[in-house]
Symmetry: none
Subunit: 204 residues, 4 copies
DNA sequence: GATGAATGAGCGTTCATTCAT
DNA sequence: GATGAATGAACGCTCATTCAT
């Protein structure tokens, strides 16, 4: 039905507006210090309306996190897919991740703000999803590195742990950039990350 | 006065008992989902008594975090100090960090639990301390790496960023170990971290 | 908008109901010995609702006092205005005051209950208002007495102090009546007050 | 026994010290905003010791009020007794009262601080005593005025109400002086009070 | 469907009083 | 007797969620 289609489109638009505002506010103050009234007011809806889109505050919060994280991994995967060779894929991976952080600094800061707590009770519901997503992402990286092993590009190290290492080198740069205001774009760190991951710190 | 000495010893013992229990509970549930009554009950004190040791819930929480973090860095620095050469110092650094995480898994999980929020309002008071501590630690690592640069052991990469990279490689292993139950001790990852940091992933 | 008008009317009605009940309870027990739960229950609202009308317990208390006091002075001034000559104005002043006390005995007893304390910390916010109101009232009386001086009705005494004297003669009668249950209406004291104020106690 | 006599003397001295400090603190902050710890610290005793002298906070408060009020009435009565004629007695009454207020401004301000509340629950225990004391004092004044009626000095007005009027004329001056800082001593108001009480405001 | 007033459970904190030392 | 640490009941206030309009 055309009517219901438009309705659904509208529904999704409104839902997205709420999520967008919620992201800003949650990023700024953390889960507990944000009230539903605040989100309602910022997104231009009534408190009651919020409950037509989300079961409750927690659902709103976890949905927001969940969808944004999905977006991040989607973007990264997409970028990597379009690269040709192994080195290019690794570089794309780093690049896409750094760009996402750069463009979504506030959101990412949610995961920094003390780097703690909310996954506690509130997040029980998406905790596993986040972990699974992360492991899936690691597996995704692992697959790339495995083909790098096969092709003889990489040293024979455990691919899973290499994936973890690469992932956290990216994190290292991201966290630093988020914590201290820097004029250089985060993406300028790509070369260094790629270099230290591939060659290590030791002189040949 | 002997009497006041004993009193002070007792005071410190009780204070430590509270902190110990609080650590467990906060680690399990996060700041907001823990009540003072819960901590009181777990530590065998009355609610009122808690307030003789700490100004409030926030003070108790931040004190607990702060003192434990100090302990961690102290232990690491100590271990590193006792190592002779550069490679030994780097190895000690990795080792001490991994051991601390291994022996204080619950505490460390505080910083994982969603890796977010608490530094928000609650932690304004120690946020800067945590950041400062981290940067001081990075500087500490940097100093070691600089002497490695001088001695010709390391490639000529920016030492600060190398420090960040090393620090996050350690984190990578710690986070993985904390997130998934593993039978192998975390410390078994030392060799890999050292290896990938020094030689990188690329075949020579 | 009609709708918002009705809403506002309802809001004011409810607010007035709360204030009315609060007045009774505060009058009976004093600020500190009244709980918000008590007021909520007495006025038929939930605890939370109280906070939609007043910022907190203190605000509720001071608002109640403040509005009632305004009402008292308004009534008195109105009555006095409508009197023709000086003697009539003085008589009206006494009369209006006595009637207010008679009709608002519980409220007035708030200012008797030990005649103390609350203006302390709690009332810092309206303390000055009460004092200002009182002094404004004294000035109002003073103006009447001054015209009495001009017209030759009154002896040449300092008008400010005469105003204080008259005000406290009224208080004297009110306090007595509030403290001891009396069958005679308070207003029956008007003649005596007027008499002793105008002629004093001494035989001519 | 001499020993017990000294003990008792010491007991009374300490008790008086506590009451003296308590008076200052209660006068400054009101009953509810003063803690036993505060009184203990100010009077140089331990919290526990306070309970050897007084059954509790309320007892301490009411005792302090009660004894000070007794002192006031004693002083006034004494002064009045030593005056010869009726006019002198009335003048002494006014004088003694004004001097007491002047010399015990902080204490008297207890009864001003909003002129309310504390007689609420806390004071139930001495409320009646205060009222009785006041009425006894009124009777005392009444007796003087009655002899003034008999002697033909005073007009034939109800002596009880005249007593109330006189009492509140004194109050009027006291309250004003307590509320607004004045350079003139309160006792300078004696003449005016006596004048308006005896002659009234009206030109003969 | 949309609204936002109403609800009330739940928590941090205070402080008079007790009692072991 | 003197101490002051320990106790825990009690209260103000918040805010997610509901539901009458």
């Amino acid at each position: 039905m055309v009517r219901s289609e438009r309705k659904e489109r509208e529904f999704n638009t409104r839902r997205a507006e709420i999520l967008e505002q919620a992201e800003k506010i949650f990023a700024a103050k953390g889960f507990h210090d944000v009230t539903m009234a605040e989100i309602a007011s910022a997104s231009g809806f009534s408190i009651g309306s919020l409950y037509q889109f989300f079961k409750g505050k927690e659902h709103l919060y976890t949905t927001m996190i969940s969808e944004k994280i999905d977006l991040m991994y989607d973007k990264i995967n997409q970028e990597v897919q379009s690269a040709k060779d192994i080195t290019g894929k690794i570089a794309s991976l780093i690049d896409a991740h750094l760009h996402f952080v750069e463009n979504n600094a506030d959101f990412c800061r949610i995961f920094l703000r003390g780097e703690n707590e909310a996954l506690s009770k509130i997040m029980t519901s998406i905790r596993q999803k986040l972990i699974n997503d992360y492991y899936q992402h690691l597996s995704f990286i692992e697959k790339i590195l495995k083909s790098g092993l096969k092709s003889g590009l990489l040293r024979s190290l455990p691919p899973r742990e290499m994936a973890g290492a690469l992932s956290h080198l990216i994190r290292a740069a991201s966290v630093d950039w988020l914590l201290v205001p820097s004029k250089e774009p985060l993406s300028s760190k790509r070369a260094f990350i790629l270099d230290i991951f591939l060659h290590g710190a030791k002189k040949a």
